[in-house]
């Protein structure tokens, strides 16, 4: 038997207290009404037992009561909805300038990729007090990243990026569970989030990665695969110039306008014919089968790194040398 009987998870993120407050409100309200029902039923069963109350009253109903006990619960439910929605809208929208870490899930392990180039398997180091955004994709089936101490969860899908964000407020080590059934070792797909003081995190980052930042890996791949041949940094290319494109709207040849986000970049590499930029011919070959998810993430990181400064920036633009992360954490 375990030495302790935990009854409540740790509160290790900025969302935890808010989620818990909502839950405690729900416990109080639902507990109260449940108790009322239980007490009424129990006391009616006693007070109106056949032996004590041989003749039942003949009551059809009461419209007033029906309306009352429809409207009051409805009002309470709407309060619950609104409060839940408020918490949720914070949880689901990553703050601007959150530092981005990429996650690739596969049966049955987690691969984490820091912008600075650090790679981790099943363990994720993050700094205390920084907004962290996980951009996630699966290589095979649907997985899910769940960090109970942070009160966050999001499915990790094949074929499309999903995101999750948190700000850790307490150093420590916390469970990261896969919580979408994914096959044999689903319950073995457990990771650990290690929250470190900022200084310790910097030291860890600098601690060892010869490959260079993710964006620089992407840049090398961009050259290697011949992307630079068509996607020149001027107007002469057979493909659109990608500088500044990230996060901006793009006009397509069928008249639609889409935003050049992570999923757009990934789709353009794998199935370029799906969305052809207006004014260009559909001649880009598909790299489906040539690049894996991690390589795609590095290309995405590279394209982001050559975008305008006011867009979401990774921690570093410069290849080879891991740059220090901004010293001041963003205030809320």
């Amino acid at each position: 038997m375990g030495e302790s009987l935990p009854l409540w998870p740790a509160r290790a993120s900025s969302m935890a207290a808010q989620t818990d407050a909502l839950v405690l409100f729900l416990v109080a309200v639902t507990g109260f009404f449940t108790l009322v029902i239980f007490i009424l039923i129990f006391s009616f069963a006693m007070k109106y037992r056949k032996e004590k109350h041989p003749v039942a009253a003949d009551i059809l109903g009461s419209n007033v009561l029906e309306v009352t006990w429809s409207i009051i619960p409805f009002g309470i439910f709407m309060m619950m909805f609104v409060w839940g929605a408020i918490v949720y809208m914070q949880e689901v929208r990553p703050p601007a300038n959150a530092m981005e870490i990429f996650v690739v899930g596969k049966q049955w392990m987690w691969k984490f990729q820091h912008q600075e180039g650090q790679r981790e398997i099943n363990q994720l180091h993050v700094p205390l007090g920084r907004d962290v955004m996980l951009t996630m994709i699966s290589q095979d089936v649907i997985h899910d990243v769940f960090i109970p101490a942070f009160r966050v969860k999001r499915d990790v899908l094949p074929g499309r990026y999903t995101t999750l964000w948190f700000r850790a407020i307490k150093p420590g080590r916390y469970h990261l569970f896969c919580s979408q059934y994914c096959g044999t070792m689903h319950s073995g797909m457990i990771g650990e989030v290690v929250v470190m003081e900022p200084a310790a995190y910097q030291a860890w980052l600098a601690g060892g990665n010869a490959e260079g930042s993710l964006a620089s890996t992407g840049q090398k791949l961009f050259q290697q695969l011949g992307c630079a041949t068509c996607h020149r940094f001027d107007t002469q290319g057979r493909g659109p110039n990608l500088v500044g494109v990230y996060g901006k709207p793009v006009l397509l040849d069928d008249g639609r306008t889409v935003t050049a986000d992570d999923n757009y970049i990934r789709e353009s590499v794998l199935t370029p014919g799906a969305k052809v930029v207006a004014g260009f011919k559909p001649i880009m070959p598909s790299f489906n089968g040539t690049v894996n998810e991690e390589q795609l993430l590095s290309l995405v990181a590279y394209v982001k790194s050559i975008s305008q400064p006011e867009q979401r920036q990774p921690a570093s633009n410069r290849p080879a040398v891991p740059a220090p992360a901004p010293a001041t954490p963003k205030g809320r």
Partner: protein, 540 residues
């Protein structure tokens, strides 16, 4: 041939003894016999699903996955879910009590389509048989939810066969559904207007509408998975530009209303039982009838609350959360109305009444926790954890199964002509209530702590709560075996039942126990409301 006065037992011709041959049972078109056939089949499936649950809870006694391999464990929870949902809960009350009572309660001789009724049982048996074959030859490990790409591409088990089994059983559901709808519309006895219908009928009508509209959608969703497996290519495959989340939409479009298929009939039973044992009309008849219909309608609009973290747009999530709170209102109304029915009643705490009171309490708890998971802020944390498992078991087991047991006990005298031993009935009801709460309440805590569902092995800090849950499950198991024993015992040794031992008001109680094959010697002419206790013949 029909008399209302019972003499010492025996051998007035009724639907049971009119012909004892096997052929007369296997080729029957009598809705009452078909109900019995269903009752035997679903009881068998219940215990098979229960066996899987037993193995699951035994494995979860220890943090390590040491009782069976991971693959076997994954098959256990998949089989438990598939068997319990598709082969027990969905048919349970409608196919047994519904088949038996719907024609009788409206004063008809049979359902509108008796041969289709028999066909529905054969479809059920075929599906169940195929499912048993799947279990015996290696099982299926996709979970009852069959999410792709795992189910379509990566699983190595009998997925297609399991899907075919469910597809066939789905036809059984659809046939039952449209049989009830047509029967209730067209075959009511003279004077049995819509507003005189027992609430049992209203509940089954709403249930049938859901069966008819929802089942085909899960049929096509699962068929597409089967096709994808067979041709190694499919519309949910991201490698073909497909979206696995589309499956989830199609699947849950049925599977959420499915939970209302599972609960509305139990609620229908509770209305009858609480009224009878309070000797009082159901408080707010129209409100309860309307609430049944509203649950069925709104229930179709909330499916994506199972997908809040699946990658849907936040704005969609907001809409589905809002609608999920809407659907809670009619359920709350029903609970208040049943409670008010007991007010100033004249109450007998019989076994069926105890089960129904247990239903109200446990359904309330389950429904309240539904308010938690409808809340987006909370669901992000508790989705796919034991909190969800606890929530739906409170409703499915604490609610639906207790409602089923309430109904079985209530109408047992009518169906079999025998009374069960009341003392054992109460002991079993209490055992089930206690065992159930001990099993599932700790799971709320486990879930909030973060223990994910479908986990074969788990971190050590979750062990104490798991042990409590397994201990409860062992008590619950005893509670379920008890009725099996004493109900079978009563068939031979139980006291012979009167026509209307509980002095209830339904038309079914104005026939002998057990009834003759044609139900009524003469078509009844109804001039009284449901639950009008003054309409009963004089007390002795």
């Amino acid at each position: 041939m029909s008399s209302t006065v019972t003499t010492a037992a025996v051998e007035r011709t009724n639907y049971l003894n009119v012909d004892y041959s096997l052929k007369s049972w296997l080729l029957t078109t009598d809705h009452k016999r078909i109900a019995i056939l269903y009752m035997l089949s679903i009881t068998a499936m219940f215990f098979i699903g229960g066996a899987a649950a037993t193995l699951i809870r035994l494995e979860l006694l220890t943090p390590a996955g040491d009782l069976m391999s991971s693959d076997t464990y994954n098959k256990m929870f998949s089989i438990h879910g598939i068997v319990m949902v598709f082969f027990f809960l969905i048919p349970s009350i409608p196919a047994t009590l519904g088949n038996f009572l719907v024609p009788m309660m409206i004063g008809a001789k049979d359902l509108a389509f008796p041969k289709i009724n028999l066909a529905s049982w054969y479809m059920y048996i075929t599906g169940a048989g195929l499912m048993l074959y799947v279990i015996a030859t290696g099982g299926v490990d996709t979970g009852w939810t069959f999410y792709p790409p795992f189910s379509s591409t990566y699983s190595n088990t009998h997925v297609i066969a399991a899907i075919i089994a469910i597809f066939i059983a789905g036809f059984s559901s659809i046939f039952t559904g449209f049989n009830f709808i047509v029967t209730i519309h067209r075959m009511r006895a003279p004077g049995m207007t819509w507003s005189r219908l027992p609430l049992f009928i209203w509940g089954h009508y709403a249930t049938s509408v859901i069966m008819v509209l929802g089942t085909p959608v899960v049929a096509i969703a699962l068929s597409l998975i089967a096709l994808e497996r067979a041709f190694h290519l499919g519309i949910f495959d991201p490698r073909m530009g497909g979206d696995p989340v589309l499956f989830q939409h199609l699947f849950w479009f049925y599977s959420h209303p499915a939970v209302y298929i599972m609960i509305l009939p139990s609620m229908a039973v509770v209305s009858e039982v609480v009224s009878t044992f309070s000797r009082k009309r159901v408080f707010g008849y129209y409100a309860v009838a309307l609430a049944s219909v509203m649950i069925a309608v709104i229930g179709f609009l909330v499916w994506a609350h199972h997908m809040f973290v699946a990658g849907i747009s936040p704005y969609a999530a907001l809409v589905f959360s809002l609608l999920s709170y809407f659907v809670a209102v009619p359920s709350a109304i029903k609970v208040f109305n049943w409670t008010a029915t007991m007010f100033k009643g004249s109450i007998t705490l019989s076994t069926p009444m105890l089960y129904s009171m247990g239903f109200i309490g446990l359904f309330t708890m389950g429904g309240m926790t539904g308010l938690f998971v409808a809340s987006l802020g909370v669901d992000v944390h508790v989705h796919d954890t034991y909190f969800i498992i606890a929530h739906f078991h409170y409703i499915m087991v604490g609610g639906a199964v207790m409602g089923y047991l309430s109904g079985i006990h209530f109408w047992w005298p009518k169906m079999t002509g025998r009374m069960y031993p009341e003392v054992w009935g109460k002991i079993a009801a209490g055992t089930i209530f206690l065992g159930f709460n001990l099993t599932f309440f700790p799971q709320f805590v486990l879930g909030y702590l973060g223990m994910p569902r479908r986990y074969h092995a788990y971190p050590e800090e979750f062990q104490v709560l798991n042990v409590m849950s397994t201990a409860g499950a062992s008590i619950l198991a005893v509670g379920y075996v008890l009725p099996l024993i004493y109900l079978m015992w009563s068939l031979r040794y139980g006291k012979v039942a009167e026509d209307n031992p509980y002095r209830a008001t339904g038309l079914e109680w104005r026939t002998p126990s057990p009834p003759p094959t044609e139900n009524f010697a003469e078509t009844p002419i109804v001039t009284w409301d449901a639950y009008d206790y003054s309409s009963l013949p004089e007390e002795d």
